[in-house]
């Protein structure tokens, strides 16, 4: 259980949010030219690292907006929260 600072609504309990997986995965420009392996790589393969990870989250039971978050998966420490389309505030 932890608190998430929604960029639209402010600080809310984690139970109001749903996680949307890794962020900043770029869709291939020409999907039809990809092999099955390359397409599967884009669709399914995620880093799932232990440590600082860039993630997408949705405030499902609040404003229903998607946003990005930089979270340490080992201790749930949130380093940054930023809106969709914005550049990550940390690298």
């Amino acid at each position: 259980m932890f608190l998430i600072n929604c960029p639209y609504c402010g600080e809310r309990d984690q139970s109001e949010f749903s996680a949307g997986g890794e962020a900043h995965i770029v869709r291939p420009k020409q999907p039809t030219e990809l092999s099955d392996d390359q397409w599967a790589e884009f669709l399914f393969m995620r880093k799932n690292i232990k440590g600082v990870q860039f993630e997408r989250w949705n405030h499902a039971h609040g404003c229903r907006k998607w946003f990005n978050m930089v979270r340490d998966t080992s201790n749930d420490k949130i380093h940054a929260v930023y809106k969709m389309g914005e550049k990550p505030p940390i690298k």
Binding site: Y8, C9, G10, E11, R12, D13, S15, E16, H61, G62, C63, R64, K65
Partner: protein
């Protein structure tokens, strides 16, 4: 014509809490991003939709609640005449949806409004809600969308210890039962 069948039609009073379903109430969902949209709403209703999060604006007849950066809920303060239910909706639809500057959707049947009054309403909500009401209860007109007993709700702080709670129709009976049960033990 919408079919306004109220699912609860009940009022309960406990020592420090009074709960009642208030229907039929006009509720319209407004969505739009452009400046034109905000201006048009202001012109038609004489109320500017709030741009600050978790707030509301209103007059003696209507309230507009902030639901998101491009979404608002308009609802009437008083019960409406079912024969005139579509007048405001049609007016907004013609000015906004047809002009393609936003969307207007009548959600009167989608949401059920429950009024909660009394000194212990926030104790009742705190017993089933992950939201921190400390600042909320001090600010008249504040709005939140959160979970109550795991059910999505919109809560509007109308006045001191006087809240309007909106719940989806399909969950309303279940939530009503939970509120009744919980109120007995607060």
């Amino acid at each position: 014509m919408l079919n306004f069948n109220s699912p609860i039609m009940d009022t309960k009073e406990y020592s420090e809490i009074k709960i009642s379903e208030v229907e039929p109430i006009l509720k319209i969902n407004l969505r739009g991003k452009s400046r034109d949209f905000i201006t048009k709403i202001g012109k038609e209703l004489s109320i500017i939709p709030p741009t600050e999060s978790n707030t509301s604006s209103g007059n003696e007849n209507l309230n507009i609640l902030w639901l998101g950066p491009d979404e608002w809920l308009l609802y009437s303060n008083n019960k409406i005449d079912l024969n005139n239910i579509n007048i405001l909706e049609n007016k907004l639809f013609n000015e906004i949806s047809k002009a393609k500057i936003g969307s207007v959707t009548n959600v009167s049947d989608h949401w059920i409004m429950i009024n909660l009054k009394g000194k212990k309403v926030f104790e009742l909500l705190a017993s089933g809600c992950p939201f921190n009401f400390n600042e909320f209860k001090k600010t008249k007109g504040s709005v939140t969308q959160t979970l109550l007993n795991h059910i999505d709700v919109i809560i509007h702080n109308k006045n001191i210890n006087d809240l309007n709670l909106f719940v989806r129709r399909s969950f309303s009976n279940h939530l009503w039962s939970w509120i009744k049960d919980s109120s007995r033990f607060i």
